[in-house]
């Protein structure tokens, strides 16, 4: 792996030099240089070398272009392997052994994120067979349950993962409370997490109506009836009538797209559930994970911050003297 193959680089540098040297020359010579390069590229030796490379794919140009960093058994090379990979770079290149102790994290954040991925995957597949329109929606549920290949499996995966995600989110928050991880400097990330909890519950709620069965219909009827009592924004809430709220212009009307739970409510529920809320959740998840890294990792003490690095007015990050 270590020594560079002599053939290829020589061919390349030779051609490169030739082109650079003859740059001021006429276009004819440029074409000639290009042709020479093409000839060298298609020469027997080069082709044979490329076939030889197939035996060890890590030596091929395609592999090198994808995984730029040479893999060596050194800490630096290993760190780069993580840092230069888009899928791995959210992970820290190195972490304290104690930070991943199961009793510190319960793995609940990771499990919740895993369930989110499962829900996204199964949800997208379910969308292929679901029409968010009255009459058709419930037919599609029956179709998915009884006829679509693996439809029952997908729907149940989606349902169970949804239930589990609500549970694991709560457990994640419980352990954050128990380990005191909501404290400075992680208080902002705690707030992001609270918003994510609310969005998780909203995802559950909006998904409830989509089968358009009796259970979902009455759940959403009850749920949106509560919006009538919103202070100021609901027509039955405090100050609502005084502010001009009626069943036809209050917050419930905006949520349902009408005054009753009907076709518009189903379509709105669908769009909130499948597009809007997942998008917001994805953005906040990115912020959440980023802040986990920046605020000192998934568990353990907060990072040392110099006083000079902190915002002066109202800065409340951990102050430690590093003299």
């Amino acid at each position: 792996m270590e020594p560079e193959k002599p053939d290829k680089p020589v061919v390349k540098t030779g051609a490169g030099v030739a082109v650079v040297d003859e740059e001021p020359a006429s276009a004819k010579e440029n074409i000639k240089a290009e042709l020479d390069l093409l000839k060298k590229k298609t020469s027997k030796e080069t082709v044979l070398q490329e076939i030889e490379d197939l035996k060890d794919p890590t030596k091929s140009q395609i592999y090198k272009s994808m995984f730029r960093v040479k893999h060596e058994p050194t800490p630096r090379s290993r760190s780069l392997g993580v840092l230069t990979n888009v899928f791995l770079h959210l992970h820290p290149a190195k972490i304290n052994r104690d930070a991943v102790r199961f009793s510190y994290t319960w793995g609940m954040g990771g499990i919740t994120f895993y369930l989110f991925i499962v829900l996204t995957f199964t949800g997208i597949l379910l969308m292929f067979y679901y029409h968010p329109s009255k009459g058709q929606a419930f037919q599609d549920i029956l179709y998915l349950e009884n006829d679509v290949p693996f439809g029952k499996l997908l729907r149940n995966m989606h349902r169970w993962a949804a239930h589990l995600m609500v549970i694991t989110t709560w457990l994640h928050m419980l352990r954050v409370v128990l380990t005191g991880s909501y404290k400075t400097p992680r208080e902002f990330n705690w707030s992001v997490g609270v918003v994510l909890l609310v969005l998780t519950l909203l995802l559950s709620f909006t998904g409830y109506l989509l089968p358009d069965d009796q259970l979902g219909f009455w759940a959403v009827t009850v749920g949106t009836n509560m919006a009538r009592a919103t202070p100021g924004l609901g027509h039955e809430g405090p100050f609502g009538p005084q502010l001009g709220m009626s069943p036809y212009n209050d917050v419930r009307f905006a949520l349902l797209g009408g005054s009753i739970v009907d076709a518009n409510a189903l379509l709105r529920s669908y769009i909130w559930h499948c597009i809007a809320i997942p998008t917001i959740v994805s953005v906040l998840l990115a912020v959440h994970f980023w802040r986990v890294r920046k605020d000192g990792g998934i568990s353990g003490p907060a990072p040392v911050q110099l006083e000079s690095e902190m915002r002066a007015p109202g800065a409340r990050a951990v102050k430690k003297q590093v003299a």
Partner: protein, 223 residues
């Protein structure tokens, strides 16, 4: 996971290795205590660490034969599971039941149709029923160029495709524009009551430069 563990081992291994080279053979003991959960892997002295690379211990140490059976089984199982999931994923896109209109339908009796082109089933079934002196046949209303539905122009007595201007005679024979061949004709037969049964899944073509199938049995009903 591996990265994390090895990174931790490395710190301990580095000191050991740099102290003396003769200890190369003994690291198994110290290693085993450092990570009891994988003693086999740790028995090889610091392979995959900077100390190992620096001290060239990788070549000199007698490598213990590593039994790769277990990891082979596990990776095969994982790969098999993912491959099965992928097959299920592909199968999911092929519904077992479809709710599309039938390609076989009745359009009435031959006596219902006068001479010329009848467009009353164009919207519903995408066909024209055409009758001339000897025959009644059904043209499938799809341009043979790129599949648009042509319009019947009674004033010009021709079919004209709005997409690229292909023109067909009243019997569906192409005479202008890019269409390569006449429009296809659907299978027709009479049911016991004398109604015309059309099947647009069985089409009769007249490929360019070849023998046409418009005179085949089923391509027309003699009247």
């Amino acid at each position: 996971m591996d990265t994390v563990q090895d990174a931790n081992q490395k710190v301990e291994g580095e000191e050991k290795q740099t102290v003396t080279v003769t200890e190369k053979a003994t690291p198994p003991a110290t290693k085993a205590s450092a990570s009891p959960e994988k003693p086999k892997a740790a028995a090889k002295p610091s392979v995959g660490t900077s100390a190992g690379a620096k001290g060239k211990t990788v070549e000199s140490a007698a490598p213990d034969p590593v039994n790769k059976m277990r990891r082979t089984i596990i990776w095969t199982a994982v790969g098999g599971f993912l491959a099965t999931c992928f097959m299920m994923f592909l199968r999911f896109f092929l519904p077992r039941t479809i709710f599309e209109p039938s390609t076989i339908f009745r359009v009435g009796y031959a006596s219902d149709f006068g001479f010329g082109v009848d467009t009353k089933f164009q919207q519903q079934y995408r066909i024209w029923v055409v009758r001339n002196a000897e025959r009644l046949f059904v043209i499938y209303a799809r341009c043979t160029h790129l599949g648009c539905t042509p319009d019947w122009k009674p004033s010009e007595n021709k079919f004209k495709c709005p997409c690229h201007g292909s023109g067909y005679t009243s019997e569906g024979i192409n005479f202008e524009g890019p269409a390569p061949r006449p429009m296809d004709r659907a299978h027709v037969e009479l049911d016991p009551t004398g109604q015309i049964v059309v099947n647009t899944a069985r089409l009769y073509e007249w490929p360019k430069g070849e023998e046409g199938h418009f005179n085949d049995k089923g391509a027309f009903i003699p009247v």
